[in-house]
């Protein structure tokens, strides 16, 4: 905040009082020549301060937040100029690059802002150079000021669903834009991927009064819980998959067979994780716990992996991350379309069991 002329003037006067050699300037007229000079100097300093203040305001330091704001402010249009990949030209104005939006209505401008979600982080080089590393607890890296590469994850919203921006056209234009506005020498890695694959396995003790379980499937569910994973794999390989015989309405509300409280709670929770937010096992369990008719939810297995391209071989064995308490999806979000949830429903009947 720039000081006022009066403040500057007072400071000069105070300083003058401290100098014995200036005692001769003692004319107490309000328009004494030395007072006028003080006023002139103070005004010059004030003008300078105002200009510096304004410049500082419009040329802000390029922090991670600045990158995020710039990404969200990206306008995408159809190319008119062959040199530019964008209809709205980027012009230098007021000390920064801005999109020239003259002649466009507000809604047109709003529509051209394709990036709805953006997360910017800085990751140390080690993580970058080793892309095969398992999704691990890199959250702490985000908060340590490690010099490295600026990572920008972006996504848009299509049909009210979060999805990646159009590759390659939109992504190419966006990369050009960032290349133009970023600081010289900075490494910026931009990605917009499909949502990560997520596979969940749960054992859920449910209230048999409100959630439907076909009695013939009880044995299967019980065996899944009591049998260790390694043995189960052998059984499944030998026998015909008993999973296919399960009643599809298992887990639905007895009062409304279209509502599956566990699945709905999981989907709802995943949808509400903020973009590039961490998936936390405990929070998911908490969310399921709150659903109707659920007594004890136990998360037994979590598998995740980055999505593969549609043309590539689908990834059938995602990395097991059950032991990790929280992680951040590689793309910034999970693909809820291809979410796989396996639930073992067990009726909650402990009170009748022998102690």
């Amino acid at each position: 905040m720039a000081r006022t002329i009066a403040e500057i003037q007072k400071e000069i006067l105070d300083e003058k009082g401290k100098q014995p050699s200036l005692e001769k300037l003692n004319n107490d007229s309000k328009t004494a020549i030395w007072k006028l000079w003080i006023n002139i100097v103070a005004t010059a300093i004030w003008v300078h301060e105002k200009i510096v203040e304004k410049n500082a305001m419009i040329s802000r330091p390029h922090t991670l937040n600045w990158y995020r704001e710039q990404a969200l402010n990206f306008h995408y249009g159809v190319s008119l100029d062959p040199d530019s990949s964008n209809e709205m030209s980027l012009v230098w104005r007021d000390g920064s690059y801005q999109f020239d939006t003259t002649g466009l209505t507000d809604s047109e401008i709003e529509d051209s802002k394709i990036i709805k979600h953006c997360a910017v982080s800085e990751i140390d080089l080690e993580t970058v150079l080793n892309p095969d590393s398992k999704p691990k607890e890199i959250l702490s890296d985000y908060f340590h000021n490690k010099v490295g590469v600026v990572f920008i994850k972006v996504a848009t919203v299509k049909d009210e669903k979060i999805s990646r921006i159009d590759v390659p056209n939109q992504l190419f234009a966006f990369k050009e834009y960032i290349a133009k506005i970023k600081d010289a020498g900075n490494q910026v890695y931009i990605s917009s991927d499909q949502g990560d694959i997520l596979k969940l396995s749960l054992n859920v003790y449910v209230d048999p009064l409100s959630i439907y379980i076909n009695p013939k499937d009880l044995e299967y569910y019980q065996s899944k819980i009591s049998t260790p994973d390694s043995v189960l794999g052998l059984i499944e390989a030998n026998e015909s998959n008993p999973k296919d015989d399960l009643d599809p309405s298992n887990g639905s509300l007895i009062s409304d067979s279209d509502v599956f409280p566990v699945l709905d709670a999981i989907k709802d929770h995943l949808k509400n994780i903020e973009f590039n937010g961490a998936f936390v096992k405990t929070y998911l369990v908490d969310a399921v716990q709150k659903a109707q008719g659920i007594k004890i939810p136990i998360l037994t297995k979590v598998q995740t992996d980055a999505a593969t391209n549609p043309s590539d071989e689908p990834n059938t064995s995602p990395t097991d991350v059950t032991k990790i308490e929280y992680f951040i999806p590689r793309a910034g979000y999970f693909d809820l379309e291809n979410l796989e949830v396996e639930v073992n429903y067990i009726p909650y009947t402990f009170y009748r069991d022998k102690q």
Partner: protein, 100 residues
Amino acid sequence: METIKPQENQNIFDLSLQEYGSIEKVFDLLEDNDQFNITEDISVYQDLKIGREAFKKDIVEYYNSRNLKPATALTEEEEFLLDNFSGIDYMIIEDDFIIY
């Protein structure tokens, strides 16, 4: 927001003084008119938007009641005269005052 017409030989500081009572409003005045240039001359044909609160009301009143309009910009004639200093007091030894 109202608009005013600058008078001949008024600069942006004069207008700030006339309308707001102090030159400390000059940057607000510029902001209202979508510019950021205090050195450029203003034109009598270009209306200026005003309408903020005065910085020093007594000074605004003083100018209003006496119908005074400060105009301290240099005329072209004055600028021409200023540019052509010469003679004793203005010459610099070995720059434009050279003895051969």
